[in-house]
């Protein structure tokens, strides 16, 4: 399941090939592994320098697990992850830690990942310290710069995380990720917990920083409006697999996979202009422990044929930047 654009001149910054992450389910008298959650089951995509690629899909489809597997926060079951020609899954634990300088992550809840007993200045200095990117003498100055870059006052360095609003804490999380001058930042639901007015501020900030530092983002979100705003390309996942990858325009204006179509039509739009036709899917998302055979979407798909129940669809190219895993369309 290699996804390759025919003539790509640019080289990918990150390549993910047939990535699998199975979580064992223990059971029985001896706590043996009785089954697996196939959270990510053969996911492949590329990310080019300076672009934003988003992963969308419903809860439990494997978005976060994909991000975590790339960073090896969990050890993937199988597959290959290449970052700047380095095989990440083959690196020793220590070498992988050093890679964190280039690969950073921002989570949904910044509060949970900020030590409440440290001042913001200390939190940022620690980030600089661990990867030893800035000499000790220059660190306080660098902390000030970082705060200003994310739109906070330099004086805030002396305050503690609880003294900030949710949006401001997310800015601190971003400053910490930026501290080590990374190349790629994985944003896992980084704006999902924020109110819309503050969410807009943070999205603007992320875009500004991207332009400034030529950052590359892997943006994980279930909010398609946000995804459309921030992305260059979008990956749609369903039950651990990629169903469609396309540039933003193709995906939103000309979605191909029946699941993508259903997902897009289900979003309630904050506008009374266009009353689009609703395509309401029946039933729930099946369990990743015992996923449906063939195409995993066949149990809910309005177009499913007998073949869909048995044959896993190939990923086909349907446009210059447009790939879809469905045999029917």
């Amino acid at each position: 399941m290699q996804l390759e654009t025919v003539k790509k001149v640019k080289k990918p910054l990150l390549q993910v090939n047939d990535l699998k992450q199975y979580f064992p389910i223990k059971g029985g008298l001896f706590g043996r592994t009785v089954n697996h959650v196939k959270a990510v089951d053969g996911v492949s995509f590329d990310i080019y320098e300076g672009e934003t690629v988003s992963i969308v899909g419903e809860s439990g489809c494997g978005k976060s697990t994909t991000g975590r597997a790339i960073l090896r926060l969990e050890e993937p079951t199988d597959g290959k992850v290449t970052f700047q020609d380095k095989d990440l899954l083959g690196l020793s634990k220590r070498k992988m830690r050093n890679m964190r300088k280039d690969l950073q992550v921002i989570f949904q809840d910044p509060y949970a990942s900020l030590n409440p007993r440290q001042t913001v200045g200390r939190i940022l200095e620690e980030a600089l310290e661990i990867l030893n990117v800035v000499p000790k003498k220059e660190r306080p100055q660098r902390v000030k710069e970082l705060l200003e870059q994310v739109g906070l006052q330099a004086e805030f360095a002396d305050r503690f995380p609880h003294e900030f609003s949710g949006g401001q804490r997310q800015r601190i999380g971003i400053a910490r990720a930026l501290a080590v001058e990374p190349k790629l930042i994985i944003c896992d639901e980084a704006v999902s917990a924020l109110d819309v007015s503050v969410q807009a501020q943070i999205l603007n900030l992320l875009k500004k920083l991207q332009r400034q530092y030529n950052l590359t983002y892997l943006f994980i979100s279930h909010d398609l409006g946000v995804v459309r705003h921030i992305s260059d390309r979008v990956i749609v996942m369903y039950l651990g697999r990629v169903v469609e990858i396309a540039d933003k325009k193709s995906l939103f204006e000309n979605p191909q996979h029946p699941y993508t179509k259903a997902l897009l039509s289900a979003i309630p739009e904050a506008s009374r202009k266009r009353k689009k036709e609703r395509m309401i899917l029946k039933g729930d998302v099946p369990s990743p422990i015992d996923p449906p055979t063939g195409c995993r979407f066949h149990t809910r798909c309005p177009l499913a044929t007998e073949q869909c129940k048995v044959k896993t669809p190939e990923v086909r190219q349907v446009g210059p930047e447009h790939f879809v895993a469905c045999d029917v369309i």
Binding site: Q168, A200, Q201, L224, R228, P268, I280
Partner: protein
Amino acid sequence: MNKQDQDVLVVKNLKTHFFTEDKVTKAVDGVDFKVKRGETLGIVGESGCGKSMTSLSIMRLVPSPPGKIVDGEILFKGENLLDKSEEEMRKVRGNEISMIFQEPMTSLNPVYTVGEQIAEAIRIHQNAGKKEAWNKAVDMLKLVGMPSPEKRAKQEPHELSGGMRQRVMIAIALACNPELLIADEPTTALDVTIQAQILDLLKKLQNELGTAIVMITHDLGVVAETCDKVAVMYAGKVVEYTDVDSLFENPKHPYTEGLLNSIPKLDEDVEELQAIRGSVPSPSDLPKGCLFAPRCPYARELCHQSLPDLTEMDGEIKVRCWMHTEEWKREDTPITNDKDQTDSDKGVTLYAAGNS
């Protein structure tokens, strides 16, 4: 039937405050709206603006102490619920007014089957026998679109998915055919494809049963899909009460306008979103004039000095903003929040939240 009778619920100047050690939190501090039979009213606003406390006030379920309804009227079919005894309120709750919460797991009993829980609601409110109530419970599950209702009725909540649990909650809430249903973020915890199913279901049931619905949400998309009227709340107050078309096409309050501009649109490309600068003030430390003045791009001196009333405009639209008053025409002080500062990045530096 005259106009008055059609208003199932009229809330006037509702104020619910929390009294803790050294401070008063004005969680709800001037809420006005009405809901007609068969109509859906949306209450929207950002986290902490008082949406849930408004709905708990209507149900008279505000945790007390520290909370207390200190002012206002809640007229349900013309009678003020604030005058009722606890005994009388118990009859109203779950009978004439029902409520659905965001997280169904917290309001379902984990050790009873969902069928038993729906049947229980039917038995209490309709004086039905055991067998009859069970059969009705299964019928209700069918009505809310539960797959294999007979089988599901015998399962416990944890055996169901989030969407199915929310269907059970709706079945319980509608079991006694209430005249008013209050739904507090009923789909926020659900995936969009499941949300679409649930919103569709609520609309269908409303058409069949004529229920009035108060839909609490922070999602303006949900408002556009489901509501007829909308009350926009900011820091405990209703700042705009309007019909849903006017809300999206001609928002009157600068906060409503700001909210709409903040949302990334699905059919429009912009490089930068027009964010509202700063953040919501802490409800225990509110500015003295218009609560939105520190963030408002139109604010003048008057706005910082005194609080505007919720004023009726054309039709049923009401707005709490000086711009739409006579006083504004005489106001000649300059705009206080200069344009540069509305830049999202600079804006936020002006405020440190809360208890610093």
